[in-house]
Amino acid sequence: MLDERVQRTEITEEDWILGPPTAPVTMLEYGDFECPHCAMARPVLEGLVAENPEMLRLVYRHFPVTTVHPHALMAAEAAEAAGAQGQFWEMHNMIFAHQSQLAYDTLRACAVAIGLDVARFDLEMEEHVHLPQVRLDFRRGVRDGVNGTPTIFINRLRYDGPRDHVSMLAAIVAARKAAHGRVRGAA
């Protein structure tokens, strides 16, 4: 049996990736925009990427837990709609910053604030154009073994430790050391 804590899906060009493709360490996050633990993790994860630009990249996938977070799915669709206009991470940040009030009006105001074509945004939200992508992320999360939000993988191994800067940096450094000397692309 496969190790149950190993990420099975591949990172693809379609994923939302912050950081260089050559980074030896990939951190994959499954997140929910209405989840307070995800909001707390965000500055830690993005800080790590900013401080370690050669070493680390962050991949974000949607895992909305709709029964407890009624706005999470719509927020994920909104981030994808912004992504379609080249502004996924800007929207991602705006949504987390307004986490406690994620009604459509707020999402739309976020879209306006980052300068999206709002007519297009409204239309794509109305028609749920990006829902299949969000569903795909969710299914990949099930397959990879999400066990809560956020679930984070560091070079394919699920990280269940504390989500503070020091602990995570130690895990990232350890992952880089483990990757060193291995064939590039195997990780």
């Binding site: 299914r139 099930v142 397959r143 990879d144 699920r158």
Partner: protein, 165 residues
């Protein structure tokens, strides 16, 4: 690793109250696969996260002819209130008195603190335990892959590649 009843053994039958105070018997689920999910405590953060994820994927779990039964040593009043808070639609069963008796039957009672381990038992339609999972660390919930891998082994793969609207 060898904690709890082993795969291949008959699942011990039990009758426990659900969150509405009604008796639920395991044997009444014959003909269905059952995910028997022991968790330490209602209202605790990791259990909240674990059961919310199970609820979120309940439709997919049922596609494997399976039902989920949550079990903890909390009383049925607590179960009822917590299920309502989390919008859980599968039963939570109260292994409250005799305290932890079902957890003991399944070998996952913790004498150290009076709770159960975080554990999953996958029981097939004939009532045989086919797979088990027991958390090494009580603070870490099972990945959803544990549940779906076990159900696939019991029931065979489902082609569920069409996204649900």
């Amino acid at each position: 690793m060898a904690k709890g009843l082993s795969p291949g053994t008959q699942a011990a039958d039990f009758t426990l109250l659900n969150g509405k105070g009604q008796p639920v018997k395991l044997i009444d689920y014959r003909g269905k696969n059952v995910v028997l999910a022991f968790y330490p405590a209602d209202w605790s953060p990791v259990c909240t996260s674990e059961l919310a994820l199970i609820q979120e994927t309940l439709g997919e779990i049922r596609d494997y002819n399976a039902e989920v039964l949550g079990v903890s040593v909390d009383g049925h009043w607590s179960h009822g209130a917590w299920a309502e808070r989390l919008h859980l639609t599968f039963p939570l069963l109260a292994d409250f008195w005799p305290h932890g008796q079902v957890a003991r039957q399944y070998g996952v009672f913790r004498d150290s603190d009076g709770m159960s381990e975080r554990a999953l038992f996958f029981i097939d339609a004939a009532g045989v335990i086919r797979d088990t999972w027991v958390a090494e660390n009580l603070g870490v919930a099972p990945g959803l892959n544990v549940i779906f891998d076990a159900l696939e082994r019991i029931q065979g793969a489902r082609a569920k590649e069409t996204p649900r609207a």
